[in-house]
Structures are given as C-alpha cells and as structure tokens.
C-alpha cells in the first residue's frame, strides 16, 4: 500500500497535514500525537516581526464549529528560525512554514529569511480574515493575488503554496491566478468570515466583531471549493475545512485534494491527525486501493 504523495517535488509519507494556526509548531500537540507519523506539520503563520494579535475574546463556539480572530499573534521570523525550525527538524516529517505579512515587502522578507533554512515548503497566507492590513486584501482580488504570488516566487527558494480564501465570488479565478503567477500548489479553504452576537450581553462574541469560522459545519463548502479549484488548475491542491476523521479526509481527496490538513478538530480530538493516517490506510485496505494517488480527484 502506498500512501505517499508528491507536491512540487516534495514527497510526503502520507497526505495528512496540520492546518496553520491550529497546531502551533507542533510542540503542544507533540504531547498527544507522534509527529513522525504525519505527512507534514504546517506551522502557525510567521511574520517578519512579532505580531501581538487581536484583543480578547478571540474565540467563540458556533453550531458545529467555532469562530476565531486571533489576529496572527506570532513571535516573528527571528525566534521562529532559532526555536521552531530546530524543534521540528527533530522529527521525520515535512515542514511547511506558513508566512503572513501586511505588505508584499513583509512577505518577501520572511520568504528570503526562510530561504536559508532547512524547511520543505512555504504556505503563503493571503487569506486570514482577521487582520486589517495585508493577508486577505491579497486574497480577494485575482490581480492582487497574481502580483503577490509572482513577487514571492521571485524570492522563494522553496516551493510555495498559496492559501486561498473562501470569501470570494469565484474560487476558480483565484486558483487560476495563483497558478498563472507560478504558485507550486494551492491550499484551501481558509476560514469563512462569520459573526456571533451574544444576545444576553448585547455584544459581539468576539472583540474583533467578525471571526473566521472553522469546524465540521464548514466541510461541505470546503469540499465544493476544493473540487472546483482542483478542476480549474493543474497544480496540486491541499484541501481543508472541517475535516474530523479519515472519511472526511478521503472525501477531500476524492474531490481532488492531493493532501489534506486538519484544523479545528485538533482542539476537539488532540489525537485526530494520527487517527486519520491510520483511518486512510484502513479505507485503502477495505477497498483494495494500492496507491493513494488512485483516489485523488477520482470523483469527477
């Protein structure tokens, strides 16, 4: 049985990754799962300088999911290179560093710094709905997405994944713009912008007013967008959005994802990533699938 998948020349032992922002740099969940078992750890977004993030409350539960507006709190690239990369290098898993920025120059600075490090890929966050500058501003207009992708590609030593926002009219246009600008892969979906009002306090549940929705409730939207994007481009797609178990992961793969990421469900079941690896193998065994590549985009 072969569970290996390849994205932009990087081979992953299996298609199971962590979704940026839900797994830190693996230190916290390393207590629950064997990081060696995962295809890749996708880190929390890192910027050129430390970002303090948003005021609290930053999280709220909604039906079948949650809203968050963390605001990309992160220690900046210096601490990240010194602490987080060496931590992850102890494990036999691939390292994908999520990069965030307020301006094109910010992204480029981080991408260049990472160029000299021993990481496998970068995921460019142009889709965080919770910061005022940068991020989603690049991810909602195809021209802006094209330009930022093109510029980053000029400076990137490792392959880049553009992480797309679902908060757009036509996901295929965004996917095509990223591909045309030279992205090596795309990942989707980031969270869906949402809002919750506490009717007893008559106040927003989250200090930022809006937050990004994740969790099982968004899965059908994510599967649809992964399917559309995968059918619009020839570069690999990493699918995510509400994945709770191996069945969900298989669904994304059948829709066209080469790999999948698990996000909010880590909070619900801290063992979920490792369980999905095992569950995918069980599915392949049950249906006599010899190579996981047979499943990618198998439902047309």
């Amino acid at each position: 049985m072969n569970t290996k998948v390849t994205i932009a020349g990087v081979e992953f032992k299996n298609p199971v990754m962590t979704a940026s922002g839900t797994f830190g740099s693996g230190m916290e969940y390393g207590e629950f799962v064997d990081l060696n078992k995962l295809g890749a750890v996708v880190t929390k977004g890192v910027a050129n300088v430390p970002w303090p993030g948003n005021p609290t409350p930053r999280v709220a539960e909604v039906y079948g999911g949650m809203l968050n507006a963390i605001g990309l709190q992160n220690p900046g690239i210096d601490v990240f290179i010194e602490r987080d990369i060496p931590f992850l290098k102890q494990y036999d898993t691939k390292i994908i560093v999520n990069v965030c920025g307020k301006t094109v120059e910010d992204y480029v600075e981080v991408v260049e710094r990472l160029g000299d490090t021993d990481i496998d890929m970068m995921e460019i966050n142009v889709s965080c709905p919770n910061v005022k500058e940068g991020a989603i501003a690049f991810g909602q207009k195809k021209e802006a997405l094209y330009d930022v992708t093109k510029e980053i590609k000029k400076h990137a030593k490792q392959p880049i994944i553009m992480k797309l926002s679902p908060n757009v009219t036509d996901i295929t246009e965004m996917a095509k713009a990223a591909e045309a600008a030279g992205a090596d892969a795309i990942s989707l979906i980031n969270t869906i912008t949402g809002m919750k009002i506490d009717i007893h306090r008559r106040a927003f549940a989250i200090a930022n007013k809006t937050g990004g929705m994740s969790g099982p409730a968004i899965k059908p939207v994510a599967v649809r967008m992964v399917y559309q994007a995968a059918n619009a481009v020839n570069i690999p797609v990493i699918g995510m959005g509400g994945i709770s178990n191996a069945e969900d992961a298989i669904e994304f793969i059948l829709a066209g994802a080469t790999a999948i990421s698990v996000g909010a469900m880590n909070f619900v079941n801290p063992y979920v990533t490792e369980e999905i690896v095992t569950g995918i193998e069980a599915y392949m065994d049950r249906y006599g699938v010899k190579d996981i590549k047979e499943l990618i985009g198998a439902v047309k």
């Binding site: 830190g24 629950f32 970002w51 303090p52 999280v59 539960e61 079948g64 949650m66 909070f267 079941n269």
Partner: protein, 256 residues
C-alpha cells in the same frame, strides 16, 4: 503528560441554584494540583470545544476529581444532566496550579468569588500555612462553605448582605481587619483587579487565577491570552497564554 480520556461520573448534585457538584473517576487525578483545570467535552457534537473547568478537589486515593461549575450555556447544561455511571470525556490535566511554595508557612489569604470559589478548596487542603479563607457570593445561596470550614476560618461576604460582610471579599478584609503576607485568589475580573491593587498597595505578592474563552486548552491556538508586563516566552509580544502559562499568574505580572 496531558491526555484526553473517557472518565466516569461517580456522583452529581446541585449544591446551589444552577451550581453543580460532580465527582469524576479518572487516573488523571494523580497529577492534579490546586489551581489546575480540565477540559470537559459535551457529547452533543454541535458543541465541539472542551469547557475549561477548575479542579475543586482531589480525593485521598487520587482516583477521582471533583468539579463544581455553574450552568453557563449549552455545554454545562448538558453536563448538569449527567448521572452516576455516565461517561464523560475530559482533557487534562491543564494549566499550572497555585505556587504552594510561595505560601508555605506564611500568613495567607485564600480568596474566592462566585464560581471562583471551587479551586480554593483543594488549595486550602494542600497549603500548609496560616490560612484565612475569604469567599464572596451574590446572596445567601452559599456553596462549598462547609467544606472550606474544615481547613481554616472562613469569612463570607455577600453582595446583598444576607450572610457575613455586606459587599465583596475586599470589604471582608477591612471589616475583619485581616492581614496577610501572600494572597491566592480566583474569581471574577473586578475582584481580581481589586486584589491586584490591594497587593500592590500592601507590597505583597498575589497569585490570581484568570479565565478567558478558550479553544484548544493546550497552548496551540493562542485564543486565551492576557497582557503581560514582561515579554511572554512563546510569542515575545506581552501576551501570555492563560491555558498553559497560567491560569495562575502573579498579579503584578498581568495587565487586567
């Protein structure tokens, strides 16, 4: 080592209006310290996140945990319907407890307000010091008072004045002319702010347990932060994680 486990409810009773007292049999009890907490998962899958609930007491054999919680929403409403023998999914042990060594042998106030009273019980049991317990409630709907009586003199304050001092725990300090070298506290934010101010005026350390909306409970999501005086060790931005760097902080270290 943190774990998510299936535990068993030993007993549950409503000890005051909307306040429930549940004993849970779990091996996690071996590692529990006063001031730490567990995440309790509702079974209803539309409510996905663990509910952070403080540890009120650990039994002698360290085979069971007691949690005392108030019904605050859907999750806790579900928990309140559990009976002896029911299973319950918990994540623990989470957070750092109260630093007992900072109080040992000293004159200590153990202060709890409202649903911040429960963690004071295990603290009162374990802390070897000259203890005075100050607890504040809204009204005569007291809870855990008799349990606390076993470990030290208990001073009660009620907002409506129906029991003890009329007002809050700070009023109880004044009314009884009490003094301490160290404070340990858990309660609502206005109470913790008053304690922080009092401790600064008296130039004594206060260790306060904070609360915030949490998602993961293990330090990964950065949802539950508090502004800190010094740069935090995780993100280097003056935002410590309440779930893992706390929930107990020295009052002078946090901006609340």
């Amino acid at each position: 080592m943190k774990e998510k486990v299936t535990a068993r409810v030993i007993s549950q009773t409503e000890i005051a209006n909307n306040i429930f007292d549940m004993w849970i049999e779990t091996g996690l009890a071996k590692e529990a310290h006063p001031g730490q907490f567990i995440g309790v998962y509702p079974k209803n899958k539309s409510t996905i996140l663990p509910r952070p609930i403080s540890i009120c007491e650990v039994n002698e054999e360290k085979t069971a945990l007691r949690i005392v919680y108030r019904i605050a929403g859907q999750g806790t409403t579900e928990f309140s319907g559990y009976h002896a023998g029911d299973s319950v999914e918990i994540l623990g042990i989470l957070g750092n407890g109260f630093p007992l060594e900072e109080g040992r042998g000293k004159k200590v106030f153990l202060m709890g307000g409202g649903i911040g009273v429960p963690p004071i019980l295990q603290l009162a049991k374990e802390l070897d010091a000259e203890k005075k317990i100050l607890v504040g409630y809204r009204d005569s709907n007291l809870f855990l008072k008799e349990d606390l009586d076993k470990y030290a003199k208990v001073y009660v304050a009620t907002e409506d004045g129906s029991v003890g001092t009329k007002g809050n725990v700070m009023d109880a300090i004044r009314e009884n002319a009490l003094e301490a070298d160290v404070i340990f506290a858990c309660g609502p934010m206005p109470m913790l702010r008053a304690i922080k101010k009092y401790a600064e005026e008296k130039n004594i350390p206060a260790y306060i347990s904070l609360e915030e909306h949490m998602a993961c409970g293990v330090g990964a999501c950065l949802g539950c932060v508090v502004k800190t005086k010094e740069i935090d060790h995780h993100s280097h931005v003056h935002n410590a994680r309440i779930c893992t760097d706390g929930p107990v902080f020295e009052a002078k270290e946090v901006e609340i």
